[in-house]
Subunit: 214 residues, 2 copies
Amino acid sequence: MLQDGRRPGEAAISTSIEFYFDFISPFGFFAARRIDALAAKYGRRVDWRPFNLRTVAVATGFDRPMIAYPIKGDYFRRDVPRLARLHGVEPWNVADIRGINAAAAGRAFYWAADRSPEAARQLALRVYHALYCEAMDACVPEWLAAEIGRLGLDADAYRDSIGDPDQKARYKRITEEAMEKGVFGSPYIIVDGEPFWGSDRLWMVEKWLSDGGW
Amino acid sequence: MLQDGRRPGEAAISTSIEFYFDFISPFGFFAARRIDALAAKYGRRVDWRPFNLRTVAVATGFDRPMIAYPIKGDYFRRDVPRLARLHGVEPWNVADIRGINAAAAGRAFYWAADRSPEAARQLALRVYHALYCEAMDACVPEWLAAEIGRLGLDADAYRDSIGDPDQKARYKRITEEAMEKGVFGSPYIIVDGEPFWGSDRLWMVEKWLSDGGW
């Protein structure tokens, strides 16, 4: 029996897929490139939800970014570029992710999403591409404003919104909601209440969608 | 260029695949069920190497088992049974893994491997099955001795070997070697010097084997 009361095989209720990610996570990028097509194949939409992974990591008992753990961090540094190559994400040319203010991009995302969810989605993909393929710090107001303008939204209105306490509170609230839902990493995908962590698990998301649960 | 000097596409040197795992790791079990068939498909053999995951975890900055971290632990408790179901490992009926002495099974494995690598491999699979499908603590001398006898080896000679300082030192040395090679989790698979962490990455191991590196 599924969480919404259906039995496996019954027609799926077309709820949105919750896609939690942070721009500091390259695994979030790998999933971001594929999640919409995967969802569309099964008649689903995706709610993109950038959140603050560092806040969540600390709250769940990890005192530093995974990349900063000895040995495991070395593995990630080797693993991420080869994953990029295997997924055809080239060139792989990464900005100094430790130095970026991903929250700024997250807040810009939600500002854009209020005006056009599709523009916000494009913005997120552009931020990811700039950070990981163009070695560019895309989490600064000038870059974000220019991109927002290019996406057909009002760049000046966005600039005026920067520093708005409501925007900060919203990003914080979404991060807190993520934690309440059990999110501890990026990407973290929730379908019909079922959680899937990691870009390695898109096959499992697809199996859930195709089977109508299990 | 690959680590052994070949270019991708050149005939693979048929080195063994190093398969590091710990019995406390159900992900090690999922990989153990599939690794030999995968290797054989590409003319490779597998060196099975149980090691002490707890020792490695502490050395790499994790102060407790993953299952004991808040939120992430909850996810694993939900994830592992569904993975078992999807992989057809049924029934899923787990012993209290926190209470087991996996080192005893590891040492028994190496004792058996000196006499018959195939018997040792069967022993490892039997230990895993007992722990995760029969809710049985398979890491105790009586159980291990009986199983060793069933596999055609000398159960009394095994019993006499228990507590042998050389056996303990060997298991410790293999764990230390694992750390020197960068092993930080289970399963951890090394092919031609290329590392792969997790049962989620067997697809990548296969890609390496089929492409002759990348």
